[in-house]
């Protein structure tokens, strides 16, 4: 038998927490396959299997407190995979038919229910709706973490995987615990509040975005005067005609789309060694919700009218507060717009939402002194920021596309004439 022990924790760390076991007793494991993660307050350490075989025993269960070198599991290097122990062990173990199981794995999702349920060496079974969604999206079982009974992939798992573009299976997130009041070692009050699932996912995606893309930001300023004047002139009529308020977001969206048409690389994505140019414009609108930031998508924004854009954005905002946005609405997107102005931000460097390659940040409009024809005048100015992935977007395209957005906003007639 091979012992699995907690790795050496750093000197200042006395104890760690075992997160979720990725294997159950009886399941096969390959050498170096990650068995479990151990969380200290500084870092999360992965514990690989020291040998291949089957997990004979889990000595310390999920959530246990452990110390350096502590025994946490035992692997049987000669073990054969047993039938996966389900949640209700009253289910009689299926007869061990290793060859049938392998044949089942080879034929993929056509594996009969009996063979699929038999062993853990078969990739996770997908429930019917999940299987269809995976086939539609071209996902394989190894790209989706199954959280259903016995590791089955549920429809919800597939929808969640589609929302995050990660091509590798992500570990299941630890259960969300309720906040705990503690006093730190020095006796000063602290409160530890575990992150909500949404926040954990958002955090994961942002870090991934930052570490994958080469993100730079270029800035420009917009004289919002003409737009403000246009809006003031027509806002009442607009509201009467369309039943929705005319804001500035519809202009930002239209201006962005016109720039994306001129500089398609800003609307593209990186996929491995390929650049994917999208022939459509799905604009994500960053919305803040009580649980965190969400980015619902305006699909085919180039085909939406100003009224329709305003209507949908208002609807997104309302439903985001209630947590009622659907997965379809949160999936996809070729470009995003983030409006920090509503909170009073002067300027910021927005982070890109993968797999998109750029994001426009608009901010608070303020009266500022600017120079026109050699004179200092006061104009309502909004600073624009365009963060872009320098792997595929060069400075030239980034700057020019932002200039195009600025020009469209300063002279809205250009949107009408498409120049």
């Amino acid at each position: 038998m091979v012992e699995v022990k907690v790795p050496q924790l750093s000197e200042s760390v006395a104890e760690a927490t075992l997160l979720q076991w990725k294997k159950k007793p009886g399941e096969r494991v390959a050498a170096d396959e990650i068995l479990v993660e151990v969380e200290t307050d500084k870092v999360v350490l992965e514990v690989p299997a020291p040998s291949g075989g089957t997990v004979a025993q889990i000595v310390k269960p999920d959530g246990s407190s452990v110390v350096s070198g502590e025994l946490i599991a035992v692997i049987d290097p000669q073990g054969e995979a047993k039938a996966a122990a389900g949640r209700a062990p009253a289910v009689a173990a299926a007869p061990q038919q290793a060859s049938v199981a392998r044949a089942g794995a080879a034929s993929g999702m056509q594996a009969s229910a009996a063979a699929a349920a038999a062993t853990a060496s078969v990739p996770a079974t997908a429930m019917p709706a999940a299987a269809k969604r995976m086939a539609d999206a071209g996902l394989s079982a190894s790209q989706v973490v199954g959280t259903g009974r016995d590791g089955r992939i549920t429809k919800g798992d597939v929808l969640a995987a589609l929302q995050s573009p990660a091509a590798v299976a992500r570990p299941a997130l630890p259960e969300v615990r309720s906040p705990v009041d503690t006093t730190s070692l020095s006796g000063r009050p602290e409160q530890r509040v575990p992150m909500s699932r949404l926040r954990q996912r958002v955090a994961e995606r942002l870090v991934q975005s930052q570490s994958t893309a080469a993100i730079l930001t270029t800035f420009n300023e917009v004289n919002m005067g003409p737009l403000i004047e246009l809006r003031n002139r027509y806002k009442d009529r607009f509201e009467k005609e369309h039943g929705v308020k005319l804001g500035f977001m519809s202009f930002f969206v239209k201006a962005a789309v016109s720039a994306l048409k001129k500089y398609p690389i800003v609307n593209a994505s990186v996929d491995g060694a390929e650049i994917v140019y999208h022939g459509y414009f799905d604009i994500g609108i960053a919305v803040s919700s009580p649980r965190g930031l969400v980015v619902p998508i305006l699909h085919d924004a180039d085909q939406l009218s100003f009224a329709e854009i305003e209507r949908r954005i208002a609807d997104f905002g309302g439903r985001a507060t209630q947590g009622r946005l659907t997965i379809e609405e949160l999936t996809g997107g070729t470009f995003s717009i983030s409006n920090g102005g509503v909170f009073g931000s002067m300027l910021s460097t927005p982070i890109i939402n993968p797999p998109q390659s750029a994001i426009l940040g608009v901010h608070a409009t303020r009266d500022r002194p600017v120079v026109e024809d050699g004179q200092i005048v006061i104009r309502p100015v909004n600073y624009l920021a365009l963060s872009y992935d320098h792997r595929i977007i060069d400075g030239r395209e980034a700057v020019l596309s932002l200039v195009a957005i600025k020009e469209a906003l300063e002279d809205p007639s250009r949107l009408l004439l498409e120049v």
Binding site: P128, T154, G156
Partner: protein, 480 residues
Amino acid sequence: MASSADNRFDVIVIGAGPGGYTGAIRAAQLGLRVACVDAWRNEKGGPAPGGTCTNIGCIPSKALLHSSEHFENARRHFADHGIRIESIAIDVQKMLARKSTVVRQNNEGILYLFKKNRVSFFHGPARFEADANDVHRVSVAGAGESTVLAAPHVVVATGSVARPLPGLEFDETRVLSNDGALSIAAVPQRLGVVGAGVVGLELGSVWRRLGAEVTLLEMLPAFLPAADEQIAREAHKQLTRQGMKIELGISIESVDAGADALRVRYQDAAKKAQQLECDKLIVSIGRLPYTEGLNPQAVGLKLDARGFIEVDAACRTGVEGIWAIGDVVRGPMLAHKAEEEAVAVAESIAGQHGHVDLETIPWVIYTAPEIAWVGQTEQQLKAAGHAYRAGTFPFSANGRARAMGDTAGLVKCLADAQTDLVLGVHAVGPLASELIAEAVLAMAFQASSEDIARVCHAHPTLSEATREAALGVEGRALNI
């Protein structure tokens, strides 16, 4: 001190109702030496295992519901099928005799299962005696002397009894619990029922179909509040249409057992004084845990304020080695809940991991139309602020139901708005009791509504209504 005369076992199960006998058999299957003690006696004084369920509950009520439903169909609906019946009558004695036969078959069946699984069965009331060093001891009062059984594990499954109205004893001739209500010798002309819950509705239905004028008096302001509101509304409509009078929001003031009739004085929902005269009165206002004669103090077993044995989520009491399941502990008083707990406890005792999932326990009411559900109701989801989508499908649009001539009711499927996880399925209509099993299975596998919709359902069947309701969640029902 445990004496050598004590019968030594691995587990003693007290009670042979659905919880007790199931747990005893499961434990025996796992290789344990099991004793099961039960005090129920039949008319001949012999053993009648099966508890309330078999003797005065689930089984006999379903027998009478079927008999009375045949009678109702023959009287009211056969003509639609072209069947002409010149005269029709109900022989209550014959009906009751058939019921007793069904009960006896179940009693005997359980005795056979005990024999087959080598469970030692002891007939008589059980009582805890003082522990010996490492075992618990239970005495069984037999015809002559008592036998003492000893085991390290004891599972208490003593069940429950009907709750009486304060100050009004059950005499089981005029003031009836479920026991007497299942054996009324002749169809009463006027039947009063206090409590419009499952028992009241089912037993009220039996006698109404046979010709009684039935009035149900319910204290709560809502009809079947535990059921989904839409389902409860439809059921109320159908039952009222059948002639059941249901009064909600009442409060009973007094019951006077006069020579000629029972008089129930009550305040109606508008606080007006009312009186109901009836020949028989069924009181079905709930059940109380039963531990009479058990002597739990001998082993330090704690009962809570209402008489339930206190247990944790795994059915362990505060005393090492003593477990309790079924109606005598917290949770829904359902036979199948007791059975789930029984299996979980037997497996825990055998060193395995036992677990009861209370989220996927179905509820069934065997009125016509039947009512059945599993999971959360729409009103619960709204109250919790849980975003959901709903799909409903009426049986009036289902081919099988039309062919059967039984089209009242609907199926409703509730699913999470984001992940499409099925959160609850509710049905009122023909054979809802059977249809719900598909939903329970789906929920146990964390299915989405789309999963139910994508699985093949035979045609023409009532189960297609479940599938259409699932399709309706995503707004794409095919047949409505």
